[in-house]
């Protein structure tokens, strides 16, 4: 789910997370489609960014991403800790496609 700054909100976007006040009370619920008035309201709340629904999956396929990852780590993989780092990043990339 892409997180975008408030000034980039456009009518028709859908909230992926509820907007709450500082006490955690929901002001605008998730799934709500943004109207002109709602966007104005969000701007007045002085929050920095909101999560909106939409496809944020990378353009490449998972297989391409993993292949490129293997390629990048080829040189340094035998050095200490590089295997750990690669493993964490690999899991991270795989989660992007879930």
């Amino acid at each position: 789910m892409p997180k975008i700054t408030v000034d980039r909100l456009v009518v028709g976007m859908c909230l992926a997370e509820p907007i709450t006040n500082e006490h955690g009370l929901v002001l605008i619920n998730e799934g709500i489609e943004l109207t002109e008035a709602l966007i104005e309201k969000i701007k007045n709340l002085r929050i920095e960014s909101v999560k909106i629904k939409g496809d944020s999956k990378p353009e490449e396929t998972k297989e391409e991403m993993i292949l490129a990852l293997e390629e990048r780590f080829k040189y340094a993989i035998s050095y200490p800790h590089m295997d750990t780092i690669k493993k964490i990043i690999k899991e991270h990339i795989e989660r992007l496609y879930e």
């Binding site: 997180k3 975008i4 944020s56 780590f73 990043i89 991270h92």
Partner: protein, 279 residues
């Protein structure tokens, strides 16, 4: 005289501020930074008197690079909130942005991702001013800009060597120039009167174990660079992730889960930052 003699390289890099490609605003800014008497007020004026700079600074402050909760609406507010070092760094970043985009495709995105990652890591380590780490992340590879501005042909040779031999760009730089971009960056940062911490981080971000005064901050940028390359954000001159420095790794002592969380937040922020900065 040999064009790649180390003294010649150094003096070319120290002359960069006189190049016609350097925008006038940056030249003016460098003049101000040179003067130790320059106050926060002077810098505030400098920003407010230029509407383009004002817009750029506010846009940068409110981006995930800095990650302040809530929005900052005015230059005055920013200057009061951020203090001299951060405002200086902010202005430098804003001015170097165009230069970075001009010289190497993907270097800006690499730097942006390093800025975000460095800040997240600094927060995890409980550093008092994570924004300083943002700036260091953003400017750490400025030596590449320096080398390309003065030695474009040679730098392209270094890039193809790195590509052909599948070695890190800094090793290829070293083969050709006898120094790497970290040293070039340190020279430039010194000449440009960058804050002390920034000079040291730039100079040692590939050998953080030598950093004397800012070992944690330097290690943060070092590891951020590796994570960002590992994840594949941007392009910094090669396709190879360099090995992590063992001292830095031990010093930071991050758990696998810490790194996982940093990557997750980086991912979300990059979506947002890309919209702002990458046309």
């Amino acid at each position: 005289m040999n064009e790649l003699d180390i003294r010649t390289i150094r003096s070319s890099i120290e002359k960069i501020n006189t190049l016609p490609t350097i925008p006038n605003v940056l030249k003016k800014l460098l003049k101000m930074l040179e003067n130790p008497a320059t106050s926060l007020n002077d810098i505030g004026h400098f920003i407010s008197h230029d509407p383009i700079i004002t817009t750029k600074v506010l846009r940068m402050i409110n981006s995930p690079i800095y990650g302040f909760p809530g929005r900052i609406y005015s230059v005055n507010q920013a200057v009061i909130l951020l203090g001299l070092n951060v405002v200086k760094g902010l202005l430098l970043s804003v001015s170097v942005y165009d230069l970075m985009k001009k010289v190497m495709m993907g270097l800006w995105e690499h730097s942006l991702a390093c800025a975000i990652t460095s800040r997240l890591m600094a927060k995890k380590k409980g550093l008092k001013e994570p924004e300083e780490s943002s700036i260091a992340g953003l400017l750490h590879d400025i030596g590449k800009v320096a080398l390309i501005l003065q030695f474009q042909g040679y730098y392209e040779t270094a890039m193809s060597t790195a590509d052909k031999k599948n070695i890190p760009i800094m090793d290829a730089e070293k083969e050709l120039f006898n120094i790497n971009h970290a040293t070039a960056g340190e020279w430039m940062a010194e000449k440009w009167s960058f804050p002390r911490n920034l000079i040291e981080i730039i100079g040692y971000h590939h050998k953080p174990h030598i950093s004397r005064n800012f070992p944690v901050e330097t290690s943060i940028v070092h590891l951020a660079d590796i994570l960002v390359r590992g994840r594949g954000f941007g392009f910094a001159g090669d396709r190879t992730v360099p090995p992590v420095n063992e001292t830095a790794w031990a010093l930071l002592n991050l758990s696998n889960n810490d790194i996982k969380e940093i990557l997750k937040e980086l991912e979300e922020s990059m979506g947002m930052a890309n919209e702002l900065f990458i046309e």
